[in-house]
Symmetry: C2
Subunit: 370 residues, 2 copies
């Protein structure tokens, strides 16, 4: 194998693909990136830790076809330090060593033969849904914070994603909160799917967009696998199997008491009050009274804190306590000017919503305090 | 105690003084900052972990004199989150609790009575040397990297600092390298001192300059203590006692072979080559030949690296190996365009110098390789 490639092109591709390489493991080849000549002017870079697989194709000048795997992070580090010029790769087959040359710099990097690289599990299907990336990523951001800690066997560690007609719905819940987003999307072919996507897969999907100019992504779901396909790269991973909870029935429908709070002021007040929170419990108390919200916290040995904000609220006085981080997680990812809070009693789940026409909500369980 | 102070003023003072407060310890009061009204319009903030003491005075409107200590980092966090307005402090004596009010925010912070705060050990002397801050700090930066790990009983963990006439000399050495700086300074009163200053004291001295407009600092050394005094703040600490090694005799004087390397190119080449260094030893090899420097490294299981740079060198070929971090540490902190390297054999200490008229050097011991 012998090829020449521009530094910035392979540098970007390595940054993308390396995200799928294992940090360390029993199989050294899983920490490597597979370099493969595809035709006269393209090489394919791929990496997998067996959970996620990322592949990217880039333009290169190939003078001798072939393939090899090289340590992904080390190669990425070497390339990133080279000047913005053409870089020559030359595989010496006997030793599985690649000579990398660029100007006055020369590296001999030991690789592992490409036949040891695990075969790609690829959901073979031409049945793609094409959707816009931007609203998809926004919905991910507005739900992913509520997933449980990653565990391939726990449905709550994934984001439930459903596309049907022009509706995109994403849901995440972890026992203390339930985040849901509904958005209108374009869906020309009117295809549909639903799946529980591991939160890591969604994070890596947004990471592999670096340097891509694509506005839409092709998604296919088959045999418990998902594939996100862009023009020059794709990512595939296993889905989480199992039955997602019937979350719809968890959402209270008939709350009468409503308050609207300016989001910016809410964030600042929470941030200030939380300096005096009990770090074991993270509890802050909300005192709703006519057009006023008082937020307090106290940390046993340190003291206490209090902040008041003018709000739109005309119902009975109510005191209700929360883990303030759950509130922060939600109000950080929404974009509306106001936050609408809907509740009934101090012990019932409270609905936090955007106050504009977006359908973004988070049901948060309050904490019982004396 | 009751006073009112502008947010940005107390915020800056707390950031400065908190650096002397203990992170945690047996005596909780050492994590606290002492607030003390000085006269009608000034309060004094001070903190100490018994190694270092920092004090700062700021303008405030005082309506009731008094003093109290409050948790330094927590207070700093609270104040930093408040809006840029006046902040009111009000001590409730019975409970040692300070009420802090600013707009809609209110905090009650529990303190410790000020009599528990350790008395200041202050080198009582009016015998100050006044020197410019800028050349002093530069000399610190160009030597401090070569100090040994901090230990109050090890003279090598401090920077040896000597002022006599118009000469400032700083020295640090750790067994593998010896950094020296000589600078001309103004010294109107022609006073002199020499001392081994703990590296931490020098770091904190440069940290407390935040927000100060002073161009000169007053230094006094007495009873194994040093004091750096600025207009509105000062820092004092113990000095390291003991005999500093006779470093002058370590510096080779009669080296004939010299090379001059462009500093920027030297940095880049070292950085590239070091990607393939054996991380246990950090060894890179330098091959000096006529007007050429080749730098190589090899990491047993990964491969090897090589870079070549044009240099000014006309002597015999020489191969010499170093821990590349020692070279980096030095060439990062100098400002000259070129680095002058002076050597004799592959086993003798090598002198790295600036190639301009500044007197900044680092003697680095090579590593023996086969």
């Amino acid at each position: 194998m012998k090829f020449s490639v521009k530094k910035d092109i392979i540098n970007n591709a390595l940054s993308v693909v390396t995200k799928a390489a294992a940090i360390r493991g029993i199989q050294p080849v899983l920490s490597n990136v597979l370099l493969d000549t595809v035709d006269n002017n393209e090489i394919k870079l791929s990496a997998t830790d067996l959970d996620i697989y990322i592949e990217m194709k880039i333009k290169a000048h190939i003078s001798e076809p072939g393939s090899i795997t090289l340590p992904a992070r080390k190669l990425n580090e070497i390339i990133s330090k080279l000047p913005d010029e053409n870089i020559d790769f030359n595989l010496e087959k006997e030793s599985n060593t690649v000579q990398i040359r660029c100007n006055s710099s020369k590296f001999d990097v030991k690789g592992i033969v490409s036949t040891e690289f695990p075969p790609v599990e690829y959901p073979e299907s031409e049945d793609f849904i094409e959707i816009e990336i931007e609203p998809f990523l926004k919905a991910v951001k507005q739900t992913i914070f509520a997933t449980a800690t990653y565990d391939i066997n726990n449905v709550l560690s994934g984001v439930f994603c459903k596309i049907s007609g022009n509706n995109l719905e994403m849901v995440a819940l972890d026992g203390n909160r339930l985040a849901t987003v509904r958005e209108n999307i374009e869906n020309k072919d009117n295809k549909s799917f639903s799946a529980i996507i591991p939160s890591r897969t969604l994070k890596e999907f947004s990471n592999i967009l670096t340097g891509s100019e694509d506005k839409t992504v092709l998604i296919t779901v088959k045999n418990s696998q998902i594939l996100f396909k862009l023009t020059d790269r794709y990512i595939t991973s296993r889905l989480i199997e199992g039955q997602y909870p019937n979350y719809e029935q968890l959402v209270p429908k008939n709350y009468v008491k409503k308050a609207v709070i300016n989001r910016e002021k809410f964030m600042v007040a929470l941030d200030r009050v939380s300096t005096m929170v009990n770090e074991r419990t993270n509890i802050v108390k909300f005192f709703f009274s006519k057009n006023n919200l008082k937020i307090t916290a106290d940390a046993p040995d340190l003291g206490d804190s209090c902040d008041e904000t003018e709000i739109a609220y005309t119902f009975d006085d109510l005191t209700i306590a929360f883990n303030y981080r759950y509130i922060q997680d939600f109000i950080k990812v929404i974009e509306s000017e106001g936050v609408q809070v809907e509740f009934d009693t101090a012990l019932a789940g409270t609905l936090y919503k955007t106050d504009d026409d977006s359908d973004v909500t988070c049901l948060i369980m309050p904490v019982q305090v004396d």
